[in-house]
Symmetry: C2
């Protein structure tokens, strides 16, 4: 059962210190949503921080105007620990003990697989982005919108809707962005930061991943990988891999696309995307993962070759 | 002086036969706008056609539900000839004589360089897409929106706004799309047709072109090439190269990006793009070409190596 935005707003209004937790491998939706909230909280005199444990991706650094901290001491013992764009403690691994020092906890998320476990939860899988839920919460709080909040929420929405192209995009997504223009949205500036700000190393890695793609299932499935060796060769970083699975999906006829990422410790992280009808959330659960119908993932301790073959077999079964 | 949409609607309401003219090298805005208008005209019992003289690009074919014709006989002597997304007769070269057989002419366009020359003109350079002007005209006509019209206008707007990222995008763009959802818009379906419909050969060529990129001018310029050999190796076609120069421009710090295309007969076609301040139109004129500040080009009969070095030298001079 979801808590209403009014209930959540009431909790926020009582708090003196709030710490926001974007999920690991933060994306535009996680960080943009956290930044927008942190900005409004500080405007209200709340001691607010976004607590992170990893580098902010270069193309999202423009969002952090002094909101993010790595300093455990700054974020301990908050009145509210707020989990944003994630509904699972394991998605803030390394920070969960600090999260638990919060007196109350709130979760705002749009992932289908999220289970409410916080004191207050608003999980709406129909929302195209957590940024849309944050927008609704800010409205409920009568927050004064400004350029920075508008840019942060636009970053959240445009990245999670695939620039308003994915099927999660709806009337509300566009209505919200229309309002963001009233707040001073600079869509072009945000877009250059996010999308025209790639290191050459990243683009070379994307190129190599495209070369290594395997097409199967009668042209309806595509898979590729990013190994530690590929990162060394190209000089790219693992957080520069997010376009690769979308590039695979953009191939004509491909319904399901998969990217395997080999982490330093050998863990294989798998990202799965589908175009129209293939339910990749269901596929991911077979391997202990989860997500949405069109975007899901899972992790595995098997070897890359094993995960590749296992996933391929499951997809082939479903394409028959 | 622009005619009002009311004036234009009145002319349309009197007509029995209307022929629509998208510009050469038709894009999503030109064809989407024509299709939306043609659909509404036919709904009203008007004998309406979209007159074209070239192949519809593969990724836009879904828009044509029997509206387009190559048949001169079908489109002669219309009550209204309607020029869409262009304000110059030379942009409908090969069809201008048929255009002139129309009893009256209407132009709906958003290009800054367009001069009104038709009997009725509505040219609005502030509009992000001609599709937005068509939307306003349809509202003025009290047209009944439906899924096909919504999809066509979304195709028009999403392509001309760079998926709502370009600086031409504004509040109205999003408000219009919000309304299109009421009409049955299938944004995801349209986007898959337009953007997730690339041949693997194309993506492999893009990958190879990225590998061959040279960065110079302190990281502010990027160049690459597509040779006949690269086409043979990847199986891609020269008309599948349009993303390459944008990919180069998306590199962090790159202000000016250049793609050299070696045609079968050895002609070198050069596409130049800039991100913010570099005037590539001025650069292209040095080599006998032209264009806009952020997008230009030229052709040369010199060797690829020569054109490469000449262009590099000119860019380096300007970056100093």
């Amino acid at each position: 059962m979801n808590n209403s935005f009014r209930e959540i707003a009431s909790e926020i209004e009582k708090a003196k210190k709030i710490v926001l937790y974007p999920h690991l491998n933060m994306d535009g939706d996680a960080l943009g949503s956290c930044v927008a909230l942190c900005h409004v909280f500080r405007d209200r005199g709340i001691d607010a921080h976004v607590y992170i444990s990893e580098d902010i991706p270069d193309n999202l650094k423009f969002l952090d105007n002094g909101y993010c901290t790595y300093d455990e001491n700054v974020v301990m013992d908050a009145d509210i620990s707020m989990l944003v764009d994630s509904g699972e403690l394991k998605r803030i691994r390394g920070r969960e003990e600090v999260f638990k020092t919060g007196k109350k906890s709130i979760c705002i998320d749009h992932h289908e697989t999220s289970e409410p476990f916080c004191d207050f939860n608003h999980i709406d899988p129909k929302a195209a982005a957590t940024g849309e839920l944050v927008f609704k919460l800010l409205k409920e709080m009568d927050a004064q919108g400004d350029k920075e909040i508008a840019n942060a929420l636009f970053a959240a929405i445009t990245t999670d809707t695939g620039n308003f192209q994915y099927s999660n995009t709806d009337k509300l997504s566009h209505e919200i962005v229309a309002t963001l223009y009233d707040w001073g949205l600079e869509s072009s500036k945000v877009s250059i930061e996010i999308y025209e700000n790639y290191r050459l190393e990243r683009l070379k890695l994307e190129a190599e991943a495209m070369y290594g793609a395997e097409i199967f299932g009668g042209g309806r499935a595509a898979m590729t990988k990013v190994t530690q060796e590929m990162l060394r060769e190209t000089g790219a970083l693992m957080n520069e891999t997010e376009s690769i699975v979308d590039n695979l999906r953009s191939i004509r006829g491909v319904e399901v696309a998969v990217l395997f990422k080999q982490e330093e410790d050998g863990l294989i992280r798998t990202s799965i995307r589908s175009k129209e009808w293939f339910d990749v959330a269901e596929l991911a659960t077979v391997f202990g993962g989860g997500g949405h119908k069109h975007a899901s993932g899972f992790s595995s301790r098997k070897t890359l070759d094993e995960v590749w073959e296992d996933t391929k077999r499951e997809i082939e079964k479903r394409l028959k």
